[in-house]
Symmetry: C2
Subunit: 256 residues, 2 copies
């Protein structure tokens, strides 16, 4: 099977035009099939602030009300997505910007209301891997915005990490999928204060051990759980690294 | 050759969710290959106002500065485009939202600065008809936002009427193309005060005559000139009609 690199980028790289340009320059150099999933950093929050729309948070969780969904659709689906596409096209990468609504690629369910009503947030139910595989085999580079739909006309704000993981799982049938999460640090760190203490490889046993020892904690736990789930569903490996290092093969590699 | 309907919609239909829903319901019923080009109505201007960005007009012409381009990309490329796509997907139409940057479908040149600097406005140079034809033959319904790019990383605001005409011309090689412009009135009127005075057909001779008589004037002249140019380039016919009438075959038909 052909190799496919799925790369998720977000945060400061997406917010800062110079950092984004540098990242896309590196991304363009990756050979073979590739797919980019982008988040939106704080750009949506900034636009909401400018428009005087309150950033709704309940019990620490961000809520996507109707106004926020509009902003997310504008910023993620329009501004960021189309600028990335134009930038990649200038580098002769045949980029195609997509949300989950386009071609019905990613269908999700509006998150059920329990203790918290998250609003217009989608939990991914189905990724059309066959269609994405066809696009990839035509040499197209899909650029996915973190927006899905419920197939009943409703767009839904969806976590970009989840989109990357679900897309990787759906494409594992067609490609040798390598999933790469770019984030602020060089990888999973032994010592959060020391950016050079990157753990180079983590398997399921080591993960369990590190969680017990409190080395891996908080937000990193669900991130790695998602990574292991992707691997259990056929993804070859998951790498967590700094956006600046995607060509270097550095970072933390997660495998069975 | 297969028939292809290219429909351009804008103005109030796009601004008003109920009108848009009705229009898309009708659009979904059109059989065979189809492609939708949408404008943005006043939604971009409204967002600019909310953000305190001045609507720049020089000698009656709207100027697209960097801030306005951002808004246009958000509203046309994101909000409107993705909502149309989600709405069509709910009606089992396999819609794919696109700008000219996606797949390098429409390349344009930034309009040269002469008496007026229009800013980030693009004049269409090349439409990749072959690629669009392939998508259409797969049963995909492209939904084009009025944004193109220069292939050097710059997005450009582009007139939706022009995108519709240029796309129609590029696809005339592959399909029997029927181009339909939806607008506020029932068609080209003999008497602008009487909405029932629709001229049912106009050919080149009649057009010349009506212009001389002052029946066709102002903004309608370039609209019809574009229509005739499309027909000269192989488009079968161009219809100007009310969005509410697209299934009825009413309006003004322009032909050789």
């Amino acid at each position: 099977m052909d190799k496919l690199n799925i790369i998720k980028v977000g945060g400061k790289v997406v917010e800062d035009p110079a950092a984004l340009e540098q990242f896309l320059q590196d991304f363009a150099k990756i050979s073979g099939h590739k797919l980019l999933v982008h988040g939106g950093g704080t750009l949506a929050t900034e636009l909401a602030k400018q428009l005087g729309i309150e950033n709704k948070i309940t019990e620490g969780r961000r809520i996507t009300d109707a106004e926020t969904l509009k902003i997310v659709t504008m910023v993620y689906g329009g501004l960021i997505n189309k600028n990335i596409v134009a930038c990649l096209q200038a580098k002769n990468i045949n980029a195609l910007g997509l949300t989950g609504a386009d071609l019905n690629l990613i269908r999700s369910d509006k998150r059920p209301v329990k203790e918290i009503d998250y609003g217009y947030v989608g939990d991914v139910k189905e990724v059309q891997g066959d269609l994405l595989a066809e696009l990839l085999k035509l040499g197209i580079v899909p650029v996915l915005a973190p927006i899905t739909h419920d197939k009943n006309g409703q767009l839904l704000n969806t976590n970009a990490d989840t989109i990357a993981a679900e897309t990787a799982k759906a494409l594992a049938e067609y490609f040798d999928v390598h999933l790469i999460y770019c984030f602020e640090k060089k990888g999973v760190l032994m010592d959060p204060e020391d950016d050079n203490s990157v753990i180079s490889e983590i398997d399921a046993n080591l993960f369990k051990e590190y969680v017990e020892q409190g080395i891996i904690r908080e937000g990193m736990i669900p991130k790695l759980q998602n990574a292991f789930e992707a691997i259990h569903c056929g993804v070859k490996d998951v790498t967590i690294t700094k956006a600046q290092d995607i060509l270097l093969g550095k970072g933390t590699r997660i495998m069975l």
